[in-house]
């Protein structure tokens, strides 16, 4: 799959250019990562054809969807994409089954519907209207609906971000199963490192509309970061002198820990300040956030 796209975008710091030029292996599971406003959603919308680029070229499985030089720009209806939105995905006026049936093409056999209902565990829900379903159930139906047309590529725009941890995990398993069954090229926008490691075999990191990193999750997230230390951030609650050292009480999530610190370490530390607790093989260290280098 070849993607070349250029489009003016509005970033947080003003306008800029989305400029993508990449190839994605068919059948791969690609996570798209990047801070908000870096162009992740725009990239997906440009692939669906819901937005038009200034110039671009998209080819998938030998089919050209977009070629601005030759005035080719297939409408979303003609591009075989499965798109799952973050929310408000199902049509409220239709039951689960009607939502799925709606996606059928003319003369397409409804066997696929039964297959998806079975695979996504929806058989108890088929006659329910969307408002009766939980967020996770709704996204499961939306995913099934996106697959009815047998798309060539599946685009997922943070479809799990509104769900709680347990539900996310279940949905991730369904997504993996779908990816394995249909060997579908899948692009998933995600911020969650755990999710990316679990799902993706490639990560594409966007920043201000450009691809700044591309590789396996290991190569992107683990190199440079691995060390003998772990770091936790917390908040200083109390600094008490005790003999020749100081005892600093730090709130870490719901826990309060006591750390021994030298006079040098607490010199400019204030109650309420955010700090990093770093533990290495020898002793925990406490570091003020301002002094810490950001990796």
């Amino acid at each position: 799959m070849i993607i070349k796209l250029k489009k003016e975008l509005n970033f947080a710091e003003g306008t800029g250019m989305l400029d993508i030029d990449t190839q994605i292996e068919e059948g791969s599971f690609v996570a798209i990562s990047g801070v908000s406003g870096s162009g992740k959603t725009s990239l997906l919308r440009l692939i669906t054809g819901l937005e038009k680029p200034k110039e671009g070229y998209i080819q998938i499985n030998g089919e050209t969807w977009l070629d601005t030089n030759n005035k080719i720009n297939l409408p979303p209806q003609k591009r075989r994409v499965g798109y799952v939105f973050q929310k408000y995905t199902l049509f409220p006026n239709m039951t689960v089954r009607q939502n799925l049936n709606y996606a059928l093409e003319k003369h397409q056999s409804s066997n696929i519907i039964e297959e998806l209902i079975e695979q996504m565990g929806l058989s108890n829900l088929v006659n329910e209207y969307p408002y009766k379903l939980s967020g996770g159930q709704q996204q499961r139906v939306a995913l099934a609906r996106a697959l009815v047309r047998k798309p060539k590529i599946l685009l997922l725009d943070e479809p799990l971000s509104a769900l709680d941890e347990a539900m996310r995990s279940i949905l991730q398993d369904y997504l993996l199963k779908i990816h394995q069954t249909y060997n579908l090229t899948t692009l998933l926008v995600s911020h969650d490192m755990g999710e990316i490691f679990k799902m993706a075999n490639q990560v594409l990191v966007l920043s201000k509309g450009k691809i700044v990193q591309l590789g396996t999750p290991e190569s992107i997230f683990l190199n440079n970061r691995i060390s003998g230390k772990y770091k936790v951030s917390g908040e200083v609650l109390q600094i008490v002198p005790s003999d020749i050292v100081y005892v600093v009480k730090v709130k870490l999530g719901n826990n309060i820990v006591r750390v021994i610190a030298s006079e040098e370490e607490v010199k400019e530390m204030r109650v309420g300040e955010r700090v990093m607790l770093v533990s290495n093989a020898f002793k925990p260290m406490i570091i003020r956030r301002g002094n810490e280098e950001i990796h």
Partner: protein
Amino acid sequence: MNHEFYQTLLITFELAAITTLFLLIIGIPLGFYLSNTKTKFKPVLETFISMPLVLPPTVLGFYLLLTFSPESTLGAWLLATFDIRLVFSFTGLVIGSIIYSLPFMVHPIQSGFENLPRSYSEASYTLGKSKLQTIFSVLLPNMKPSVLTGVVLSFAHTVGEFGVVLMLGGNIPGETKVASIAIYDEVENLNYAAANNYALILFIFSFLVLMMVYAINGRGIKANEF
């Protein structure tokens, strides 16, 4: 109450019904277009549609009278080609009423489209469905209160029009005489009782119609809370 009384009421409601039907056919595509377009002419188009809200109906009626008159180019052409005469005729009234009540249909439908999440139509497009199918299968069924509000308001507004009808239709019993004109007519002839018959019916009708709109919208809001 005589034959003419019923005939006038019949014409009034017939005019409102036909006008509303045409407005529905025009209002849905127009509202959809306005809710989606990014053209810079949108303010101009919206101004034209909303003009009847602020324009004295007699002004609108006056210009329609000039445009449709057999002495004008359009009027002469219509008469010569189709044998249609739009001044002092029921057909002319329907066209005048459509223009007069247009904002009452287009505004609720346009805001109905605008208030639906974009993901509804976009999901439908990515599922391979055309705009037309998206509008009828996905969008309209999820904005019934807006459509109903448009229908009810257009109907009621047409029933209540006076200036346009008077200028364009005149006062021909059985053809262009509607209830609001009849009231004026009866009062002019000092037939207060007859005027009251019409007036009371219009009063009750307007009250019921508005109450219906508020009831529908109240329910609509509750349904959307899910």
